[in-house]
């Protein structure tokens, strides 16, 4: 392996990449980061009930996954919740970010800090708080799908939108205010300035914020666990309950699909963002 081979050239002062310890640390980090994930994906194709020894290749468990009604229902629930959360959290986050960036008002600092609270509050506390809150409200249960996902969706929006707001706010920070003034000078109303000038600038932030909200919602376990009812099981909660009995390759298959889904969404979002950055480059 290259890692242990001596390079004949003398080491330069900034040649950190050639120090043994640095390479060792990087290698170990990568191993612990990716080995479990790659292992998980590989064993989803293992032809064995037990998840220990490789017994040959099969796609049986994917077939089983798609035929498992309760798993598919949980998957559908998760996607529905994630999509609704993404739309609402991104809009809320964008508006919050815009207000915090555009206006000065008394108590702004407190509002800004308060908005970021869901990010720093331990998730378990949020989960318990949400559960108690919905119980107190007497939130109806047993509603038809998808209205029964309402409480989970509301909880997800509440913890996801600050993330979106922060990302969008950061994007607005390097907005050239003269652009907005110029549009105003050319006859645009405040609303048209927002629509024609500010939103196009926010776009990469909107995409990044939406992506963040989507993935946060899709794989959230703690808060969902506390707000989910018996008939509103989401994908992570379902996997958790399956694992409690035994780790079958079916769980591996389900997880692999979740990973692929997030990878695809992330790739699309990054690609869109890159393309937008190329256009937005000359903003200054």
């Amino acid at each position: 392996m290259r890692l242990f081979r001596r390079n004949p050239d003398p080491m330069g002062p900034l040649d950190y990449a050639r120090r043994f310890w640095l390479r060792a640390i990087v290698t170990l980090t990568l191993v612990f980061l990716y080995a479990p994930i790659i292992g998980l994906m590989a064993f989803s194709f293992n032809d064995s009930r037990r998840n220990v020894v490789w017994r040959g290749f099969t796609t049986d468990y994917y077939v089983r996954f798609f035929n498992n009604d309760s798993l598919m229902l949980a998957f559908g629930n998760s996607l529905t919740i994630a999509l609704m959360t993404t739309v609402v959290a991104t809009i809320l986050g964008a508006l919050t970010a815009y207000v915090l960036w555009r206006y000065r008002f008394p108590g702004k600092a407190i509002y800004e800090g308060g908005m970021a609270l869901p990010i720093v509050i331990p998730e378990i506390c949020m989960g318990v708080a949400m559960m108690v809150f919905f119980a107190r409200l007497g939130w109806p249960v047993g509603l038809p799908w998808p209205i029964n996902l309402g409480s989970i969706t509301i909880a997800h929006i509440a913890f996801a939108f600050p993330f979106a707001a922060i990302v969008i706010r950061a994007r607005l920070e390097n907005f050239n205010r003269e652009l907005a003034e110029c549009a105003r000078d050319l006859g645009a109303s405040e609303y048209r300035v927002f629509r024609d000038i500010v939103v196009p600038h926010m776009k990469p932030g909107l995409i990044a914020g939406a992506l963040l909200a989507f993935t946060l919602s899709l794989d959230d376990f703690v808060i969902t666990f506390f707000t989910a009812g018996p008939d509103t099981v989401t994908f992570p909660v379902k996997i958790y309950s399956m694992v409690r009995f035994s780790v079958t390759p079916e769980v591996n298959a389900a997880s692999t699909i979740l990973i692929l889904l997030t990878l695809v969404v992330t790739t699309i979002a990054l690609w869109l963002q890159n393309r937008n950055n190329m256009i937005g480059k000359s903003a200054h």
Partner: protein
């Protein structure tokens, strides 16, 4: 000009945070068709004043009247002015055409008219054929032309320009100065330009208002500003000048008797009294070997100090026994280097006409 002024600024002040006076009781009038410059060091309030014309700042006190209408309650998007911003503020996600068309679209002009006027405006700023380009495919100079076209296409009563040339390199800046003057003559719109660069203001504007610390120091055409500055600040800010501290007493109508060290007592035209500055521009100073006999000049002896050679002239500093030296710009009228070279330590008579001497108060 017989018509009413297009801009009237009446007793306008802008106070920030209750105490910082950015603009301090300014009265100004700009005539129709003028190329007017607001000139001053940074922080003098010139940009604040311009932004009050555009509507981005609201005066704390006073009145802004544009084209006969009080602008107090008029939002920036409803004012008959357009602005070219310092950063040009070309919309990065729109093509050149879309940028220029934006203002007309906001006015809900029919699309046929928009198309025609956009093409005309682009032709006017010599960007014809580049309408489909995106801003990041253009140079700084071209982007500025887009900003100009975008403002002019709306046919405003007044075009406001905020330090429009400060981001361009020296060569382009000079070309753009001429270009702006040409444009202004072509379209006949009143231009109000903010600049900290005196040569820019002198070369382009019909009239200049010099500002300092929120106050207008003097409003005059370029020649008036340079040849007859109203105060020590204006004289010092515009071009180079020698200032000698002196005292003056009034002796008659527009006439003062000035007592200056090394120079003695002279009677000069002027109105300032008490502590004054005797001022003379370096290019109005002459050098001789013998004491000049003309009674119409002020002459003193000086020793050559530093000399800076600028090709067409030399900037020579003479030690005249005062704290600061007296500088003179001597034209190098021959190509005989020996003849015009000043050597350090040589003594000369230096003199200038009394008529070219200014008596300035603070």
């Amino acid at each position: 000009m017989s018509e009413a002024p297009i801009i009237q600024i009446k007793n306008v002040s802008k106070v920030y945070g209750g105490s910082v006076k950015a603009v301090d009781e300014v009265d100004l009038e700009v005539q129709r068709g003028e190329f007017f410059a607001l000139l001053g060091p940074s922080g003098c309030g010139k940009t604040t004043l311009l932004r009050m014309l555009a509507g981005f700042e609201v005066p704390t006190a006073g009145q802004v009247i544009i084209d006969g209408h009080d602008m107090a309650k008029v939002q920036p998007n409803k004012r008959p002015v357009n602005m070219v911003f310092q950063s040009y503020a070309v919309f990065p996600h729109m093509s050149v055409e879309q940028n220029v068309a934006y203002g007309l679209k906001m006015d809900r002009r029919p699309s046929g008219e928009i198309k025609k006027r956009v093409a005309e405006a682009l032709e006017l700023v010599k960007l014809g054929g580049l309408g489909k380009r995106m801003p990041d495919e253009m140079s700084g100079g071209q982007r500025q032309r887009v900003a100009l076209a975008r403002a002019l296409v709306k046919r405003p009563s007044v075009l406001l320009l905020d330090e429009p040339l400060s981001a361009l390199d020296a060569k382009l800046r000079e070309a753009m100065q001429l270009e702006l003057v040409r444009l202004q003559k072509t379209v006949g719109i009143t231009f109000v330009i903010v600049t900290h660069d005196q040569s820019e203001a002198l070369s382009m504007a019909n009239r200049i208002a010099v500002m300092n610390q929120g106050k207008v120091q003097q409003v005059a055409p370029p020649t008036g500003l340079y040849e007859t500055p109203a105060s020590r600040f204006v004289a010092d800010f515009i071009g180079k000048i020698n200032l000698i501290d002196a005292t003056a007493t009034r002796t008659g109508e527009g006439e003062v008797r000035v007592n200056a060290p090394k120079i003695g007592e002279v009677t000069l035209k002027g109105t300032a009294e008490g502590k004054v500055a005797l001022a003379v521009r370096p290019e109005k100073i002459f050098v001789a070997d013998k004491q000049p006999t003309d009674p119409g000049v002020i002459a003193i002896k000086g020793k050559v100090g530093e000399v800076a050679y600028f090709g067409s002239y030399s900037n020579v500093f003479f030690d005249i026994g005062l704290g600061q030296p007296l500088q003179a710009d001597i034209s190098n009228v021959t190509s005989d280097v020996e003849e015009f070279t000043f050597k350090a330590g040589e003594e000369y008579w230096i003199y200038w006409r009394k008529a070219d001497t200014l008596v300035l108060g603070d």
